[in-house]
């Protein structure tokens, strides 16, 4: 087992280096000088431009800049944003709790709906139920998120008034930033109604963000279940007269879940890397919007640092999935 984990870990280092090199080069390949972009129509004189370049280190050769960047990263310093001048790590840490909170709720929504829907479709294979579940999940999978978000918002928030339009909590509550997780902070504040306001603000964004993962999970569960249900041991179990629900839940589902867990893991990794569209529509202060804006502003340190952290998160989640998978399925662990 340790050898297996070690093998996986040793692959992380070159991946990590590759990412630093890629983000560093790619953002610089996009045409556009950050200083010019900052100055806009107002412009900046040649002397001032040179002064700023020197201040920000852009006047040095690229390999020197890269060297400084990587040595900084190894010491835990991702640099400061060109725009806000705040350390990249600090900005990330302020925004990440909001992303985790939303990703977590979206994942729960996706699993709670996707898993049973997939099982149900597999069991009722070929029936109307199966077809409608599959049609729904295909629609969900191909849904343009922006449009879907605005549609839900218009119906549930503007017309029916059931949910708030956007934000994390109603403005009447002045909640102190303790953990950065609004659900926890609103509870800690002790203000009446704050927690339920925080929950109601999470409903629509979670549904919107969870729609695609839900569809993926439903389809994966269905096909995996179908495969397992046609195995010999299921037929044997049925022949022995075991209750149908027992066959499905205890015998079939457990085996069918192995690939589904992988898919869930990957989806969670994606959710944690920030949801640009959902965050923009719901004015959710997460890392997806932060990264996109920094690309537009050519804020090199934020793009490099932010993508690096996100990539690390995905690497770690994948590693965890691999390890869990290894635990669940001994065949993987022992293969060389």
């Amino acid at each position: 087992m340790f050898q297996f984990i070690f093998r996986r870990l040793s692959l992380v280092i070159p991946t990590f280096l590759g990412i630093t090199l890629l983000t560093f080069t790619l953002i610089r390949l996009i045409p556009g000088d950050p200083i010019e972009v900052m100055a806009g129509e107002r412009g900046v004189s040649a002397e001032r431009h040179a002064e700023l370049s020197a201040q920000l280190g852009f006047d040095q050769p690229l390999y020197v800049q890269y060297y400084h960047y990587v040595t900084g990263v190894l010491q835990g310093d991702l640099g400061n944003s060109l725009i806000t001048r705040e350390p990249v790590m600090k900005e990330f840490l302020t925004l990440f709790p909001a992303t985790i909170e939303l990703a977590f709720c979206a994942a729960i929504f996706a699993i709670l709906i996707g898993l049973p829907a997939g099982i149900f479709a597999a069991v009722k294979r070929g029936t109307v139920i199966d077809h409608s579940v599959m049609t729904f999940s295909l629609t969900g999978y191909s849904m343009p998120i922006f449009w879907w978000a605005l549609l839900l918002m218009l119906v549930f928030s503007v017309n029916l008034g059931w949910t708030p339009v956007s934000g994390r909590i109603d403005v009447v509550y002045w909640i102190d930033d303790v953990t950065g997780f609004m659900l926890i902070d609103s509870l800690l504040s002790g203000e009446e109604g704050a927690f339920s306001s925080a929950v109601s603000h999470l409903i629509l964004p979670s549904i919107v963000l969870g729609t695609i993962p839900m569809a993926v999970i439903a389809r994966m569960t269905r096909s995996s279940m179908l495969e397992v249900l046609s195995e010999d041991y299921i037929r044997t179990a049925r022949a022995k007269g075991i209750a149908p629900w027992r066959v499905i839940v205890i015998h079939a589902l457990r085996n069918a879940l192995i690939p589904v867990i992988t898919v869930i893991g990957l989806q969670v990794g994606i959710l944690l890397s920030g949801a640009i569209l959902t965050e923009t529509v719901f004015a959710w202060p997460g890392i997806g919007k932060w990264l996109i804006e920094s690309i537009g502003r050519r804020d090199y340190p934020v793009v490099q640092g932010g993508i690096l952290i996100v990539a690390c998160i995905i690497i770690v989640v994948n590693l965890l999935v691999d390890i869990t998978y290894g635990i669940v399925n001994p065949r993987i662990r022992h293969s060389r």
Binding site: I30, P31, G32, D33, P34, E36, V37, M38, A39, G40, E41, R42, G43, V44, S45, R48, L52, Q55, N80, I83, T84, R85, E86, E91, T94, L95, A98, L150, M153, L154, S157, V158, G161, P164, V165, S166, G167, R168, V171, V172, W174, D176, D177, T280, V281, F282, A283, P285, G286, K289, W290, R298
Partner: protein, 530 residues
Amino acid sequence: MKKGLAKLTLALMAAGAISTSAHAATTLVYCSEGSPEGFNPAFYTAGTTFDATSKNMFNRLVEFKLGTTETEPGLATSYDVSSDGLEYTFHLRKGVKFHTSKDFTPTRDFNADDVIFTFDRQGNKENPYHSVSGGSYEYFTGMGMDTLIKEMVKVDDYTVKFILTKPEAPFIANLAMDFASIFSKEQADAYMKAGTPEKLDIDPVATGPFQKVQYQKDSLIRYTAFKDYWQGKAKIDRLVFSITPDASVRYAKLKAGECDVMPYPNPADLKQMEADPNINLMSQEGLNVGYLAFNTQKKPFTDPRVRQALSLATDKSAIIDAVFQGAGKVAKNPIPPTMWSYNKNVVDYPYDPVKAKKLLAEAGYPDGFSTNIWAMPVQRPYNPNARRMAEIMQEDWSKIGVKAEIVSYEWGEYLNRSKKGEHDTVLLGWTGDNGDPDNFLYVLLGCDAVGGANRAQWCNEEFNNLLLKAKQTSDKAERTKLYEESQVVFKREAPWITIAHSVVYEPIRKEVKGYKIDPLGGHYFYNVSK
């Protein structure tokens, strides 16, 4: 016993009063379009940052009179100008209090030290605060204040004298700009002593109507009304900026009552907003201009007749209809109509392709010529769709035989190359900084700006002399005359085709009273009630 009971009753009543007043606190929610870059307005140039900082938290020596581009007394009650225009003496207001923050409580009122500190930090490289937090003061240097201010003298606690290197009438308007927001020297000193000078730029105390309570990046900013504000406490008790980047979502929030005021609506939503009984759609012409600049140093645009011909050949009202969808007005002068000294009597070039063709033939191009139109890759209020605009002009010009190719670059590249004059003609625009005509005319068309913001690369002696003269006198009536004259010269020489001024729309909820659109593009909430 009786006394004790009475005390208890009083205490309960007081508690009751407090809790009712907390519930009755009027909160105004402004759905802002983005996060501020930081809380020191001297570092930045974005309006989003100014709304969150200078406009509502800070004061300046002189202020813009709300709803106009004229200045009025702020932290200075009055000022005197020496006859040579080189010395400005400001008499400061007494009894002005600074806010109190979590870790700083001021012990004195605003005075001359604060004024000198604010400007010395930006202009003097030796000032210990100069390089704190990155230390780049884009507007201060951009407006030429670093070379303009020779010296500042503290005459007494409530009198400061600015000595300039040359007479510069727009100096007063510059002092009303966001970068000139006054900081507390006492707070700066305290933080420097504590070894945390950068905290001054994160949590500054100021003298304005609202004080910052909390900022959650990309989410919201909370302010309370400053009860000791020198003009009296604001009518609302709390102000919240709910950061909402998408315009459709801002509109949804406005409809649902989650915000009271929103900036920058989608042009497509305007009709619906107008019809909504809960919404009051306010509008005003913006302090900007969208234009096409001819490169007057390249043939054939060296000849004014060619520039005039193309001006005649361009159907501007068709552009306004197609590109602005109602959110724009045809521009005839390089400065917008809300600005003082706007010359109403200037006659614009009408759309007249026949006359244009004749003029072109006179200039020696009876069959036209080939050229290019540079189209901006970004959206701006003064030009929401440059490519579409370029296409319409391309078609208009083809009618008089001028074949134009449309060119575009990435934004930074576009600005840089057009500065160097690589274009034949270029679409661009400008949004005013301080409401002074000099900020349009000299910045964009003065001889000093050739190779910089003067994209027409146009240096006309007659025009430039008028502007220089206007800079040297602080008599507003005389300046007005000079600027009006300069607009006539500009129109005759036609270095630009002036295309449009955008119309700014601001939908607010019906229950919001006293809100005014700021022609300079800011959002002020001091006078607002609900």
